[in-house]
């Protein structure tokens, strides 16, 4: 029988076992970013800004020039990178605690200025690396180590819908929310990332892609249950869709 290679690792990804927990979607998200970089011919001009939490080790898996940012500050660091090297392709990869809590000012002003860069935002409704504390995106009623009785609207406020918030800012050209829970959604997610990358390549403005992702460990679920939770509990609160598309290609609200 002749071997035929039908599926391989994107050339920009390293041959290294990932440290992520079983069922975590960071691996899928990394792969989608890597595929887009390779397919769009961006690898050799990319400067990535790695943020904090579980995904700080992005640079262990994707072989591009990378600088590490302090907590929440990746959009400011990326602004400095892009202003210093306007010809580089620049993206940040940030989780929900990083982007929607400590770094809320940096992400909003970066979008508002219309910085020519792309933000990949991984929303799993919980602080992963620090052990499962409440995030700005934690759902009402969701139990975490710092809201053990479940998040309460009156006490802790409700989950923040970042793709919609970013869509409302003047410099944003593209803001969308996709999910990683099914093959169909993963295909849509890749298209969204590619579109956001294209917008930067066309020098149009700021692009933002929110990915709904799992954290089976901190959700205390099996990987399959975690996948199901995205469809059942997250998407009703964080609807999928394009919230701003100023490219004139339609789909925006």
């Amino acid at each position: 029988m002749k071997d035929e290679l039908v599926f391989e690792r994107p050339s920009v990804m390293t041959d290294r076992g990932m440290h992520y927990c079983p069922g975590c979607h960071h691996g899928v998200a990394h792969r989608l970013v890597a595929e887009c970089l390779v397919e769009m011919g961006l690898v050799e001009k990319t400067i990535a800004v790695s943020a904090i939490g579980c995904s700080v080790f992005l640079y262990n898996y994707i072989s591009v020039d990378t600088v590490e940012a302090p907590h929440g500050r990746a959009p400011a660091v990326a602004t400095g990178v892009k202003r210093a090297r306007p010809d580089a392709f620049v993206f940040t990869y940030q989780g929900d605690g990083d982007l929607a809590s400590i770094g809320l000012a940096e992400i909003m002003h970066c979008a508002n200025r219309g910085e020519r860069l792309t933000v990949v935002f991984v929303n799993n409704t919980v602080y992963g690396m620090t052990g499962g504390q409440m995030a700005p995106t934690t759902l009402i009623g969701q139990k975490t180590t710092t809201c053990p009785g479940g998040r309460c609207q009156d006490r802790e406020g409700g989950p923040m819908n970042m793709a919609e918030i970013i869509a409302g800012l003047g410099g944003t050209v593209y803001s969308t929310r996709v999910a990683l829970d099914s093959v169909k959604h993963i295909v849509q997610a890749k298209k969204a990332i590619k579109k956001a990358f294209t917008i930067q390549e066309q020098d149009l403005g700021f692009g933002f892609v929110e990915l709904l992702a799992t954290c089976p460990t901190n959700w205390r679920m099996t990987p399959l249950q975690a996948n199901e939770r995205i469809a059942k509990e997250m998407i009703p609160v964080f609807p999928l869709g394009v919230f701003r598309d100023a490219t004139g290609e339609g789909g925006g609200k």
């Binding site: 800004v49 940012a69 400011a76 400095g80 000012a105 002003h109």
Partner: protein, 352 residues
């Protein structure tokens, strides 16, 4: 080297000097008393082909500086005391990732909101870290507008030489006073600057990674040892001014604006026959410990004068400790002292 004579403020001297040094990116946030710098650069830097960003906060401007520095371009932020406090996180990360950026602090009075008047209350913050972790900044203290121009150019060269943030510590006196400055043009920035570590896209070479996270056992220890060796090697950069110290019985130690005012006092006392001299540290880190120790070994006495309640005096006492002690006279922050006010404590120290 084309020279030009200009009558400008200390803040403007810093902006002109940075442009002459090849400044490419400036990030800042308004705070008194240094606003002349961003105001000037908001036009002059784009005109010179660079990038100016008014950030949403000092936190963001310092992190923009981090990003630009990672790309190996000459970048700067400027602020004043409370703003510098907000920048400490990024400064620590820059030291940990070995990124060359220039930070200017036009020191005002504190703690807290303090006032907008001159002070040297940020000496500890500038020279002893300020942010978290084991690290050092090169710290330069200009005392005149001319020196501000000259030292900001030196600051960029030193930042790249050592791959380390450099802090230029001025104050509200220096920033707001106006004097003649002879501008000069240094050698143009080499296109190869930062070439072996800077991020510019991994075209035709392996990827590069600039980071301060070292999790494996022993990895951080190795990094901190390397950094420590670098900090020790900075001793080569020690700068100071010794004025009439040879035959002085009493040496006044003062830096920055106060060093310059103290010099006037010393000059006047010399004219009156008093054997007094001035020692003015220009690098606050590395501190000119050795030079002070040598003066102490000659049997001289010391009086440290600062615009605070006593900070640099600790470094002076460490330097002279085997031979002498240093008296201390604190000037209250928020006021601008005259040479007369400085003469009185020197006279009193002389008579002791």
């Amino acid at each position: 080297m084309s020279e030009k004579r200009m009558f400008i403020k200390g803040n403007e001297a810093i902006a002109y000097g940075a442009l002459a040094a090849g400044l490419r990116c400036y990030f800042g946030y308004p705070i008194t008393p240094q606003n002349d710098i961003p105001e000037f650069l908001s036009k002059a830097l784009p005109d010179a082909g660079g990038e100016f960003v008014q950030a949403e906060s000092e936190v963001a401007s310092a992190n923009m500086l981090l990003g630009a520095a990672a790309c190996g371009v000459r970048a700067m932020t400027t602020s004043s005391s409370p703003g510098i406090s907000l920048m400490q996180e990024a400064i620590s990360y820059m030291a940990g990732s070995e990124l060359p950026g220039v930070i200017v602090n036009m020191n005002r009075g504190g703690p807290g909101l303090g006032d907008i008047g001159p002070s040297q209350g940020d000496y500890f913050q500038s020279t002893k870290g300020g942010g978290h972790g084991d690290y050092r900044l090169l710290v330069l203290s200009p005392s005149t507008c001319q020196e501000a121009y000259d030292l900001i150019i030196a600051a960029f060269d030193l930042a790249f030489k050592y791959r380390n943030p450099v802090l230029v510590l001025g104050d509200a006196i220096l920033g707001q006073m106006k004097e003649p400055v002879t501008t000069w043009k240094p050698e143009p920035v080499s296109p190869a600057e930062g070439g072996d570590w800077r991020l510019d896209g991994a075209s035709g070479r392996p990827k590069r990674l600039l980071k301060s996270l070292f999790l494996d056992e022993g990895e951080l220890a190795g990094q901190n040892l390397r950094l420590d060796a670098k900090y020790k090697s900075m001793q080569a950069e020690v700068r100071f001014e010794a004025y009439q110290t040879e035959d002085a019985e009493l040496v006044v130690v003062a830096h920055g604006s106060i060093g310059r005012i103290a010099k006037s006092a010393v000059r006047s006392l010399r004219a009156a026959g008093e054997k007094v001299g001035l020692f003015r540290p220009i690098t606050l880190y590395p501190f000119p410990t050795q030079a002070l120790a040598e003066l102490a070994a000659q049997g001289k006495r010391f009086l440290t004068i600062e615009h605070n309640m006593g900070q640099m005096v600790e470094d002076v006492r460490l330097a002279v400790r085997f031979h002498a002690d240093s008296g201390f006279h604190g000037l209250l922050p928020g006021n601008m002292p005259t040479p007369d006010e400085i003469e009185a404590p020197i006279r009193s120290a002389l008579s002791r």
